[in-house]
Structures are given as C-alpha cells and as structure tokens.
C-alpha cells in the first residue's frame, strides 16, 4: 500500500532533522531584516554588518569564552513575516536580535521578544516603538518627532516656504513622521496646504501629484521610503510642478538617485549623518573592513546604527560577565557615551537613544550629497 512508504519517509525525515538541530556551546545572535523584498539592499547591509562584527569578535576569542553564531531570518520588510521570524529566533534561543530596518517589522516582533526576554535593537524611527517602554528594546537611531522638529525649523524658519505639502504612505513609521512634521510646521508658524497619503509601491503618483499641482505648492515634504520618493520626484518634474522636494530619512538610499534620474539633482534630504560624513575614525575603519569583505560599501548609515546597537549589547554582556538579558539591559540603560561608529551611544530608560543630530543634504548633479545645514 502506498501509505506505508510515505509514513516511513516522513518519520525518517523528521528524525533526521531533529537530530541535525542540536547546538554546540555557542552564543546565538539573531538578525531579523528585509534580506529580500523591496528594501533588500538595506536588509542585506544590516546582515552583512552584523556578521562582520561577529566574525571580528570570534577571531579575538569570542564573548565570555564562547564563540558566537549569527542566525538570520528574512522578514521581507513585512510585519507578518517579522512576527514569524520573532517566533523562530526566540525558539532558536538567541541572546539578542538586531532588527528590523522598518518600524513596522520591528514593532510586529517586539512583543514576542519582550515576552521571551530576548534583547532587541532596531533602527526604526517610529515613536510607537518605545511606547510600551519594553526593557528588552533599544532604539539605535533617532525618533521621528526629533527629525520632524528639525525639518520644520528648516522649512519654515530657514527657507521660509509658504505652501507646504506633506505626503506619507500608509505605514506606521511614515504616518508618524508626517503627522509630527505637520504639527511641528504649524507650531513654527508654517502653512501646510495639503496632507495626503500615497500607497507605497503603486509607482504611478501622477494622480495625487496632479491634484497637488493645482494648489501651487512651493515645497513637497515626503515622509515615505526611497522606493516611492525617487519616482515621485521624477514624476513631479515631469508634470511641471515647480516645488522643492524634501525627503525624510527613509529616502536616504542610492536607489533614490537611480529612480529619480536627472530629477534627483536639487532634492533635499534630512537624515542622521550619512556614512561618508561620519567624523569618527571607527566609522571609517568599519566601512573599510566592510568594503574589503563584501566588495561594496554599506548601503547607508542604517546598517552602521544597527552595528552600534549590536556592539553596545556585546559590550554590556562582556562587562556584566553575564548572558542574563535583564542584567545586560540594566547595564545598557546606565551606559553613558559608549563609543559607537555613529557617535556616542547612550540609552534612556524607555529605550530611546539620546544625543542624536541631523544633517540636511542636497543631492548634486552627480548623485553625491552635499551638507547644507549650518
């Protein structure tokens, strides 16, 4: 009968795999990132960055006498996959997870990590990430509201725009940034003539741009991601809308320039200092090592921020001589000015990173950035 061979095969397969899963005495570090999907180049950079740090540490003897192993899970930049990855990584027994790139994927996984006492550090900037004040969570970037306030000052006080359009997509991060920006702009006395949403990935924004064109804006602030921002900028020029385009931090990626083509020139971006502009020697060394190992530079500063989050956690483990995540967490909250490659790292008690600063960049004709803030 056909049933018996099938059952036998299934049992054999299961037995084989259960035995294959047993681990040696290693410390596991998890990476949850969009390794495939539309943010793939960011996710891959994060994964590569983490592996580089771990390899270097293993070469020096590892952590507390044990070697480290990286377990990666691809969340494709999607919240459901992120939740599934969280389950998987927790079940693997990782000490800490670096992830994810997007706030949405980070938040979807947060509760699972918290319930299982697994540390998590992420570059997500949405305000909602620290609203629960989970002791397991450490933000290694800055929050939206700080960026929004900085941007608003630039738009209203420095450039004096009179008719500002604010656009976001539907993700939690983007809506949060756009709302904060609109609020800050109004607080500074500026005028938001339209606040709208586009659906990420639709690629054709002519409908909403045509609507905006009639309102005669002088500035368009886009709080979404580079995959949409680049195209929007190109289409804005095509439709003949004569307004300045200012992009939030998630527009900072080489693909923005590729997508916008000739229209990229003159675009303004607001972000944490990008990799090339980091004044720290450690940053330059890291970028050099990364390029040597992977053949290209890290895609953006986000990978570097995550590396700082990882380094801080590893440092805390070493200093507390313990793998107890609560002890590590307490140490991190008390840590002041840990020398990271993106600047001094300090955490507040709700997991926020403090003392971050921003730059304003203008994209040049050759696609390079030029700092224009004072």
């Amino acid at each position: 009968m056909r049933i018996l061979p099938r059952v036998a095969a299934s049992v054999a397969v299961c037995a084989l795999l259960v035995t294959a899963g047993s681990a040696a005495d290693v410390i596991k570090i998890g990476v949850q990132a969009p390794i495939t999907g539309k943010y793939a180049n960011e996710g891959q950079s994060i994964d590569n960055g983490v592996r580089l740090v771990i390899d270097q540490l293993n070469a020096k003897g590892g952590l507390l006498g044990k070697q480290l192993e990286v377990v990666s899970c691809d969340d494709e930049g999607k919240a459901q996959k992120a939740a599934i990855c969280a389950r998987k990584l927790v079940n693997e027994g990782v000490l800490a997870v670096i992830g994810s790139y997007t706030s949405g994927a980070t938040e979807a996984a947060q509760t699972t990590y918290f319930r299982n006492k697994t540390l998590q550090t992420s570059d997500g900037t949405s305000g909602s990430l620290t609203k629960h004040k989970y002791w397991t969570f450490f933000r290694n970037s800055f929050r939206n509201s700080d960026q929004a306030a900085f941007t608003a000052t630039y738009l209203v006080k420095e450039k004096g725009y009179k008719n500002i359009v604010v656009i976001s997509d539907y993700s939690g991060y983007s809506v949060d940034l756009a709302d904060s920006a609109a609020k800050s702009i109004k607080a500074e006395g500026g005028n938001v003539i339209y606040q709208g949403k586009i659906k990420s990935g639709t690629q054709n924004f002519t409908a909403v741009l045509t609507k905006i064109k009639a309102m005669k804006p002088d500035a368009i602030y886009f709080a979404g991601y580079y995959t949409d921002g680049g195209l929007m900028r190109a289409q804005q020029q095509q439709l003949g809308i004569k307004a300045d385009f200012i992009g939030g931090d998630a527009n900072d990626n080489p693909d923005f320039v590729k997508l916008a083509g000739k229209s990229a020139e003159g675009t303004i971006l607001v972000n944490f200092p990008t990799a090339d502009f980091l004044p720290y020697d450690a940053a330059k060394v890291f970028i050099k090592d990364y390029t040597a190992k992977y053949g290209k530079a890290p895609s953006s500063v986000w990978a570097l921020m995550n590396v700082d989050g990882l380094s801080a956690i590893l440092h805390a483990a070493k200093e507390t001589k313990s793998l107890d995540t609560k002890k590590i967490s307490d140490y991190l909250h008390a840590l002041k000015d840990f020398p990271g490659i993106t600047g001094p790292v300090s955490f507040r008690e709700d997991g926020e990173r403090i003392n971050t600063k921003f730059n304003i960049y203008e994209i040049q004709a050759d696609g390079k950035y030029k700092i224009i803030n004072k």
């Binding site: 659906k199 690629q203 003949g240 000739k262």
Partner: protein, 300 residues
C-alpha cells in the same frame, strides 16, 4: 477642468497598457476557456528581459529609433517563444483534463516564471534608465503629456487596430475565430488547431511584451512580482469589456484605466482596486456577458 483632462490623459495611458495585456487574456480564454494566470508574469518578464537586452546591446545608452525598435522586437520575440513553451509544457497536456487542473497548472506556471525572474535578476527592484525615450514634455492648456505617454497611446492604438484587422479581415484571423467558436468543428474543416493555438499565444505574448516594455519605461521601477496584479487587473478589464471579444478587451482596458485614474485622482489611489472589483461585480450582475458582449460558446 484641466485636472480632469490631466487625469484623462493619465488614465488613457494606463488603459492602453491594460488593453494590450487584456488582449492576451481574452484571446486565450476565448479559444481555450483558460484563464492564463501566467500571462501577467510574462509581462513582467518582458520588462526584465527588455532591460537586459537594452543594457547589453546598447551599453552606452543609445536613444535612436533603431535602438528602441530593436529592443522591442528582440524582446517581443523572446517572450513569444516563452509563451509558446508555456502553452506546450503547461497547458497542452491538460487540454482534456478537468478545468480546475488547468487553472492550477496556470497558477504554477505563473509562480515558476515569477520566481525565475527573481532568481535570474535578483529580488531587488531594477530601474529602467530614464533616457530610453526623450524626456520632452508637451503642454496644452495646462495639461501635460510626456513623450512616453504619447508613444504609448500611439503605439498601442496602432497595434490594436492591426490586431482587429488581422482577426476580422484575414484568412488566419477567420481560422482563429472558428477555433474560438467550436474547436472540433474547426478541426473537421481542416484547420490545424494546435497551430492556431500556438499563433494565439505568440500574438498575445508579443502584445504583452510590448506592454511590459512600456511599463518599464513609464514606471521605471520593476519588481519580479509586479506581473500578477497587473495581469489580474487586465483580466478583469477583459471580462468587463466582454471576454473572448477583441474590441471588448480594448474597450475594457481603456475603461479600466480611466476608471482607475479618476478614482485615484478624486477619491484615493489606495482604494483603486476595491472600486475595480466592485465595478466588476456590478457589471457581472447587470450585464453578465460584459459590456460589449462575450464571444464564447457555452456548452450546456
């Protein structure tokens, strides 16, 4: 008023692309009663293939007419071959099988093509160079139309008129129509049904390839999974216009494009698909054969 006209321009452009893709669906469905779920993925494949053809043959980026025509023809040929292979391998063995089996096979074929794209070209978005067509912009009374949009409108119209004439005024076209009405009777009249089906796939795939290239040039960013949704919209357009009906597919495509643009402009682009499917349901309830009427034989 000029916002409205602008949306019309945008809508007709997208609609022409939908129409080209819808033609592929409607021809195959009219003859074989099969929803070729892999068609949308073929359209995506043509965008990627076209990009590769362009960057390899014109590495320094030529924008001459010769360059463009070469890329289009080369890509259309490649995709036509893939289309024929698709029919031969995934559909022909299932001609006499239960209908649902062919549907599963079509879905499977779509997945294969989509993932082949991902494995060959990588999972990241690929970007079309912006200089394939000149970037000239024409402005008439405040309504903007780009060179690319104009090309899409003109080219698609030419192709559709050519197809209509082919189907209705040539011997081969008559043979196709005969096979669509009754395969067995056509066979008895001496028509080589296998050859006709192959020709349908060639034409449908080639039209899809043209659409795919235009999508790449117009939207610039292409991803391996962009074909499915596009194909689905096109199929809906074909149903709305009347399945199996060539003018129906053209009409359906244009109408859907306009509908989409107007909804996106006046309500929100986030609800575009919802309205599309509601329109489909309304049409199916009140005019189940589609607006221009369907042309398939229903065997009871």
């Amino acid at each position: 008023m000029d916002i409205f006209l602008q949306q019309i321009v945008n809508g007709l452009t997208i609609g022409s692309l939908y129409a080209l893709v819808a033609l592929g669906y409607t021809m195959v469905y009219g003859v074989m009663k099969l929803i070729n779920f892999a068609h949308g993925d073929l359209v995506a494949l043509s965008a990627f293939a076209g990009l590769t053809v362009y960057t390899n043959i014109f590495a320094d980026g030529g924008t001459s007419i010769i360059a463009v025509i070469t890329v289009f023809m080369f890509t259309a040929a490649i995709i036509a071959v893939v289309g024929v292979l698709l029919e031969r391998l995934a559909y022909r063995p299932l001609r006499t099988a239960p209908r649902l089996s062919a549907v599963v096979s079509a879905l499977g074929a779509g997945l294969v093509i989509q993932n082949a794209i991902m494995l060959i070209w990588g999972p990241n978005m690929k970007i079309f160079p912006s200089d394939l067509f000149p970037s000239t912009i024409y402005e008439i009374n405040g309504v903007v139309i780009t060179f690319t949009q104009l090309m899409i409108l003109i080219f698609s119209s030419v192709l559709m008129i050519a197809l209509y004439l082919f189907i209705n005024k040539t011997k081969m076209g008559t043979a196709i129509r005969a096979v669509a009405i009754d395969q067995d009777a056509a066979k008895l009249m001496g028509i080589n049904v296998n050859k006709i089906i192959m020709i349908i796939f060639i034409i449908g795939s080639a039209l899809g390839a043209v659409a795919g290239l235009f999508i790449g040039i117009y939207y610039r960013g292409i991803t391996f999974d962009m074909g499915w949704m596009y194909g689905l919209n096109a199929f809906v357009a074909a149903i709305i216009g009347g399945i199996g009906n060539i003018p129906g597919a053209m009409f359906g495509g244009l109408m859907l494009g306009l509908f989409n643009a107007l909804i996106s402009g006046y309500i929100s682009s986030a609800w575009a698909e919802t309205f599309t499917f509601m329109l489909l349901i309304v049409v199916l309830i009140f005019r189940p054969t589609g607006i221009l009427g369907e042309k398939v034989a229903e065997k009871v």
